[in-house]
């Protein structure tokens, strides 16, 4: 199998005034296509930062990053935007749906960037909602849905353009155990039956158990289970 994500000596630092804050200090990582990876680690260890780099939301300050065979280092903002819309689905802790749009329209949003016809867009959005089991709530606004339902809509939105990679930042962080299990089950299905590569940041060991592999981070580095740098 080929690599879905390759990071070589990846670095990210922020500059606050004159002070330089190193956040990622040399990440080496390879994730294969079709993998389901859980990324764990203490707060502030750099999980979100790494996920954002992999998802093409931010530029690294050093090292190399390749996703789906594409070198992200050389892309400008506009190119990254187009690349994201075609290849990556994003799932956040707080769902981040647009409150003014109903479920169907929220899911349809990424398709506005495609050449699909109006009819085809609506159809694909409907299919994505069916996959997450929310076809009957298509006309509901986010405020009329439970947390778990909103996260399902967000997953449908992440799926609708059929990306090969899903990045999830604490997707169950705001949900109760039972609902979290449902969402994790859904992610497993997407991984196993639809072949999506999934990278999921989580603080929840039970959630991490659902993944095929678990990576640990500490202070901007990947470490082994025992806390040794890899």
């Amino acid at each position: 199998m080929s690599a879905a994500v390759t990071c070589r000596n990846l670095e990210k630092q922020y500059t606050k005034g004159k002070e330089v804050v190193p956040v990622l200090t040399g990440i080496n990582l390879e994730i294969e296509e079709g993998d389901f990876v859980a990324l764990m680690g203490p707060s502030g260890s750099g999980k979100t930062t790494l996920l954002n780099l992999i998802g093409g939301l931010d530029h690294p300050t050093g090292g190399e990053i390749e996703v789906g065979g594409v070198d992200l280092n050389d892309m400008n903002g506009r190119e990254l935007a187009k690349w994201r819309s075609e290849h990556v689905g994003f799932i956040f802790q707080f769902y981040n749906l647009l409150p003014v749009l109903n479920a169907q329209r929220n899911v349809e949003l990424p398709l506005l960037l495609t050449k699909l016809s109006r009819k085809q867009r609506a159809k694909n959005a409907g299919t994505a909602l069916e996959i997450v089991g929310l076809a009957d709530r298509a006309k509901h606004k986010p405020s009329e849905l439970s947390g778990g339902q909103q996260q399902r809509v967000a997953i449908a939105r992440a799926l609708v353009a059929d990306p090969s990679l899903l990045v999830c930042d604490e997707p169950t962080g705001d949900l109760d155990r039972e609902t979290a299990d449902e969402i994790l089950g859904l992610l497993q299905t997407l991984n196993q039956e639809y072949g999506k590569t999934i990278i999921m940041v989580t603080h929840d060991p039970l959630a991490a158990e659902r993944a095929r592999h678990v990576l640990h981070m500490d202070k901007g580095k990947l470490v082994t289970d025992a806390g040794v740098e890899v």
Partner: protein, 387 residues
């Protein structure tokens, strides 16, 4: 769904806020339309042409009268071709609620001097000259009072009473209407026969408020004016003569003032609108920063997100502006009834609507500019972190 419907949906995120903003934009544009139309009504004013006419009035006060006896002396001045006069009659129609001016004139003289005025029907001038109880009216008065040829109109004079019984009520039979090429004057007048006036009033029958003189050589108008004033300088009734051009210039200056005042008021109103709505927009944007970051995450470019925000501001102003302009057309007919008494003619101007819509577009762009720039510059990772 389309980008437009996304924009539209975003407008109604906070219904109350949007409604209030729409309302203020709407009121501003309603006001704009009304003021603009009032300024236009002024501008239509009496364009009675003629730099070949000069006007002779009392030197010290417009309400002083001049004696009829001056006529012969003025006519004797070289270059004076024709002369007519008007006298302020001060008649009121219907309890004084409806004001308009009436002048006793010598019919043939008046329409010789104001040769651009056309009378209807064909025999109007003949009858007016022959029948002492007759009157002719500016077509503006036809629109206002619905009078027709043959109607008898009673007027109560605030100045003159009848010789025979001291009554102040005078009756006039309308024998014709006049207009300047179909247009009414902004100061529509009823003209009646001077002989009738002279015979019937108890006193002041030979009073003249002002002489209007037509000169043979417009180039010499100023010279002739000085000559006329010189004639009466040492009499008990000194005069002040101005060319009609000069009085038109005076009038134009006042029109300019009106336009200036309108512009000042509207600038203040639009300035306030830009500040208030701009503030609302900026506040609304702050609440939406995570949402805009999500749009960018999904692959919307900085430019698209920026245009989306700008589009919302423009849409809001256009909708508010369009409703305001529409309201003006709805309210216009009702207002024109009362405003026409003061202004002569009042109509919501269609060009003002175009200007209004254009302005609302510009204001939308101004209001939306800052939020649009903020939206464009928004970095996804920072914005997502902020929630």
């Amino acid at each position: 769904m389309s980008l437009f419907s996304l924009m539209w949906a975003n407008l109604f995120r906070k219904r109350t806020r949007t409604t209030l903003t729409l309302l203020s934009v709407m009121v501003a544009f309603l006001l704009f339309m009304l003021l603009q139309s009032i300024a236009d009504a002024f501008a239509v004013g009496p364009q009675i042409a003629g730099n070949d006419r000069i006007v002779v009035g009392a030197k010290y006060s417009q309400i002083d009268n001049l004696p009829y006896s001056q006529k012969q002396q003025i006519m004797a001045v070289e270059g004076v071709e024709a002369i007519t006069h008007t006298t302020w009659f001060g008649g009121m129609y219907q309890d004084g609620k409806s004001f308009f001016a009436q002048f006793p004139v010598m019919p043939l003289e008046y329409f010789e001097v104001y040769s651009e005025l056309m009378l209807e029907p064909a025999d109007a001038l003949q009858r007016f000259a022959r029948e002492r109880g007759s009157a002719v009216i500016d077509i503006g008065l036809v629109d206002r009072f619905g009078w027709q040829v043959g109607d008898v109109v009673p007027l109560i004079s605030q100045i003159y009473s009848k010789k025979e019984d001291g009554s102040r009520t005078f009756e006039f039979e309308i024998v014709g209407t006049y207009s300047d090429n179909g247009r009414s004057s902004s100061f529509p007048v009823m003209l009646f026969h001077y002989e009738r006036f002279r015979e019937s009033v108890a006193f002041g029958g030979d009073s003249v408020s002002q002489w209007t003189v037509r000169v043979s050589e417009p180039d010499r108008a100023d010279e002739i004016a000085q000559e006329i004033d010189a004639l009466f300088e040492n009499s008990s009734d000194p005069t002040r003569t101005t060319t009609e051009d000069e009085s038109n210039r005076e009038f134009a200056r006042q029109l300019g003032d009106m336009g200036f005042i309108t512009t000042m008021i509207m600038s203040a109103v639009f300035f306030t609108i830009v500040l208030l709505t701009g503030n609302t927009m900026t506040q609304a944007l702050r609440e939406r920063i995570p949402e805009l970051a999500v749009l960018k995450t999904l692959g919307f470019t900085d430019m698209t997100v920026s245009l989306l925000v700008l589009g919302e501001a423009v849409l809001l102003c256009l909708v508010g502006g369009a409703i305001g302009v529409g309201m003006a057309f709805l309210l216009g007919p009702g207002l024109s009834v009362s405003l026409e008494e003061v202004l002569g003619s009042f109509e919501i101007a269609p060009q003002a609507a175009l200007t209004g819509v254009g302005l609302s577009l510009v204001i939308g762009l101004v209001i939306g500019a800052l939020p649009a720039i903020t939206a464009k510059r928004l970095a996804i990772v920072d914005a997502l972190r902020r929630q």
